[in-house]
Subunit: 340 residues, 2 copies
DNA sequence: CTGAAAGCGCTTACAG
DNA sequence: CTGAAAGCGCTTACAG
């Protein structure tokens, strides 16, 4: 089978109209008479014509592509978000162009240049931060950026998160109400705003209740580090009776270490609370109490701000924290009379 | 900050050379003197110039984008593969444009048209099949397609899988060697070649040993369906003492149902074997015996065939099944003297 | 509503 | 090695 490229000019000739007419028929808002439209559609159908997006992008300045920068896909929260983001964008006629930010080599610089080279209409940066130099580059290229599940101090930068501070507070209240005495915290990567906000809210609520943290370790959001941190957390003469883990992904590792390595029972000996409510948290093997991140809402807000800025370059950046974090109670000592 | 678009012509003027010269300096194989290159680079640097990929794509006919069609991201095997695929492609100067095939509305037709509109250089279809009409469309557009983790009978279509038939056989041998008497099979979605091949190999090996399947159910690769199928499988007076589950994702649901709903012990009462060896299979809570799918090799082969066909349109399609499937022994009754 | 013409930002034969 | 010119496939003012 031979390769045939059909152009708008071919269609125009067959339909007996001008190239402009063909273009108009395939451009949503443009004006064309019913008769012209009919002829053009027929000719296009016969020839198997479809508008070339690349040519369209070049002249219109709109590629209808959104660059997605993402680092780790092993935390289940991200594939889930990626799927929703991609579908929702697809419904609006946009598609995601993927860029992996290899955090080991910290190649954000190169990666960003590549993204910009593709003339994307906007960028979603999931779980990565960007230097102000890089942001400046996007700005002068006129490409709006929105941070997903991360926030950053920059007035010209949109960011969408859930209310991690409130979530952290709530976990503290939940654990306190459950009568826990020795409460530990296992931190994620300390460069992440989500981690910092969760910890801050957690500590503030603890202090507000006149309590202090029993122990603190860092797990960097990694399975292995979380296992090691757990060993340290439980190596002393007195053990925590509760641990708030900065995300579900680490919490699974904590539970496994506690149960299978140290022979402890969760929740009888220790309560474990995670963050995210990824699907696995609901699986009976873990049945993990956790704070739900409203992935759907977060994705919707991300798209909303991004498209607003794409359609109106004067639109201002917005920092959105979706409120009302919800504790999903599963295993863990449940305080009496506690609601959400 | 104002938006400035710097073009190759701007650079040419500043460097005192022609636009062609600028283009050549930025085109890997092209010829330019050291002196010209120097001047051009300097000017480009000063101006913050970067070649416009879209314009480049239009004239060269190469967009350096690969369309990825994917359906479900909740089976951990896919995010993992996506990450590897994306990184490896990125190293070669290609990027993935994502298209979600919403299997419920079966919109592969529209989706494919959109992909083609973006002028991608190739397509990777992960865990989706394509009608021959659609494939014909890709072919006449000159866009090579490779199926990832799925195969299909079409001489002009590349497909990369692991050797699922051999994997299925091996599981049967493993279970037989472990002395199991009542062996059940829990199928995935029956339209998937992976499912069919695994089942075929499994049954053939069983028959070869003069044995027959004790029970058979279908779980469609979904958690919920797998739970229900498990209930049916274990509802009779006599229960299976082993079940081979078509993938890990379902196997977790099977284990949870067995343990937490039916109070059975895995592996003491029942051996469960999965397929894929996703990260969670190695977590102590499941410690699932499974067949490893060599995601790395599969991704490498996918890229190899795809790029070969992109670079040489005359290159023929290839069907690749990576051999030597490996059983990862974890829980499950382990046969004495069994190796890999 | 419709067509002719210019132009989006590059690359690529073609001469020199 | 280098430059002038044409052209990739569209859209978009501009006239009519």
């Amino acid at each position: 089978m031979s390769i045939v490229k059909v152009t708008s000019l071919d269609v125009a000739r067959r339909a007996g109209v001008s190239q402009s007419a063909v273009s108009r028929v395939f451009t949503p808002g443009a004006s064309a008479s019913a008769k012209t439209a009919e002829k053009v559609r027929k000719a296009a159908e016969d020839l198997g014509y479809r508008p070339n997006n690349i040519a369209r992008a070049m002249v219109s300045g709109k590629s209808r592509m959104i660059g997605l920068v993402v680092a780790y896909l092993n935390n289940q929260f991200y594939p889930e978000a990626l799927e929703k983001l991609s579908s929702a964008l697809q419904d609006q006629g946009y598609h995601l162009l993927i860029f992996m930010a290899n955090t080991e080599t910290d190649n954000m610089d190169e990666v960003l240049d590549e993204i910009l080279d593709y003339q994307v209409d906007g960028i979603v940066a999931a779980s990565v931060s960007m230097s102000s130099v890089l942001l400046g580059r996007c700005r002068s290229a006129g490409v709006p950026v929105v941070l997903f599940n991360r926030s950053q101090d920059d007035d010209d930068l949109s960011a969408v998160t859930s209310d991690n501070y409130a979530g952290g507070r709530k976990v503290a209240q939940f654990l306190l109400a459950g009568g826990h005495e020795r409460i530990a915290y296992l931190a994620g990567w300390e460069g992440a705003s989500t981690q910092r906000d969760r910890e801050l809210g957690f500590n503030d609520a603890l202090e507000g209740a006149g309590r202090t943290l029993f122990a603190h370790e860092v797990g960097n959001f990694h399975t292995e580090s979380a296992c090691e941190a757990t060993r340290r957390l439980f190596s002393g003469p007195e053990r925590p009776d509760a641990v708030f883990v900065a995300n579900d992904h680490m919490a699974f590792a904590v539970m496994d270490t506690l149960r299978f390595e140290m022979g402890l029972s969760v929740p009888d000996d220790v309560s474990v609370v995670g963050y995210d409510d990824v699907p696995t948290a609901g699986w009976p093997a873990y049945n993990l109490t956790t704070v739900r991140q409203p992935a759907n809402q977060m994705v919707n807000e991300t798209i909303k701000t991004l498209l607003a800025q794409i359609e109106d370059p004067a639109a201002s950046a917005r920092r959105i924290a979706i409120d009302g974090p919800l504790i999903v109670r599963r295993s863990a000592r449940i305080p009496k009379g506690w609601k959400t």
